[in-house]
């Protein structure tokens, strides 16, 4: 049996294309607006700047990093999206949010032709995780909402937690935690 030819969804209204970064987490593809990302670093390159962090309330944050006198909370994207934990190699340091995200790898930089609303049927946490869906190279890919990685409530919980300096070895082993 043949698979019917894949057709691209039609946007309800025309929108300008948007530069984006396509990345993988536990073999899943995601896109994030390029202007939401300030910096992309390898986990090895910032290991020395990382501090270990323990929060039972927000287990997806196990480290913080200091960048330009600001403390960023490092979110493990595998844990955030409830995926099998893999070993991340890159950190996306977000712009305007004190959040850095551990991801497996960058697939490509691209232009998103359109971002479609998440269908109403999706009613769980994904409504906070994603801005919508996009269609790239025959794949429907979720477009993450940078604000979804840590909620204001998460920040409040995290602000009350003390940190200790972690050594590079612990940081490099963040993936397996």
């Amino acid at each position: 049996m043949k698979i019917a030819a894949q057709e691209a969804p039609r946007p309800k209204r025309a929108r300008a294309s948007e530069p984006a970064i396509v990345f993988t987490v536990s073999r899943q593809l995601f896109a994030i607006a390029a202007d939401a990302v300030q910096e992309i670093r390898s986990t090895d390159s910032i290991a020395g700047a990382a501090s270990e962090f323990e929060s039972a309330d927000v287990p997806k944050v196990r480290h913080t990093i200091e960048r330009v006198h600001r403390q960023y909370y490092v979110v493990n994207a595998c844990t955030h999206f409830r995926l099998r934990v893999t070993r991340p190699t890159l950190v996306l340091i977000l712009r305007q949010l004190r959040v850095a995200v551990l991801v497996d790898r960058i697939e490509r930089m691209t232009e998103l032709p359109a971002v479609y609303d998440l269908p109403l049927a999706f009613s769980g946490d994904e409504r906070h995780w994603y801005r919508g869906l996009t269609y790239l190279n025959d794949h429907v890919i979720p477009v993450v909402d940078p604000r979804g990685f840590l909620t204001p409530e998460d920040f409040r919980r995290l602000e009350g937690v003390p940190t200790v300096v972690a050594n590079a070895h612990e940081w490099e082993g963040a993936a397996s935690q």
């Binding site: 894949q6 536990s26 049927a121």
Partner: protein
Amino acid sequence: MIGLENAQRDSFVLLQLAGKKLALPAKIVAELAPPVRLHSFPHTSALLAGVIVRRGRILPVYDVGKALSGKSALAHRFYLVARREFDNAAEMSAIPVDGECELVTGQMGARPGDAAPYICGEIVAGSEAVGVLDLEALIQMHSKGATSHATEARV
């Protein structure tokens, strides 16, 4: 009198789901879609297996077979596209089926007392009684306790 008959006799789509013959009111069914690629990504909504792209729209796919029997029906590559009503909007959704669907006309009878909660009535098709599926009730029954789903569309 003719109007009254039409009001009492509705159309239903008969389909096999998880080895059970069920009926869906034809008024909520848009089409039987051919095999297309299922795209999955992480989410926490019950019964949703992912999305398909059909007629320029991204449609959520409900793995109804899993709800009925515990076994995924995603191997069935045709999709019955049906409408779901939300508070302020309607949305087309897809249900994987094996492709064998039949349109019948009949009068829906009362729901049998021992029927599953997702059965809202019964029609007679040929010589057998077939339960009419209340898709909304079935989804609501499984709307709690969902975990992250991500099975397809991997790199």
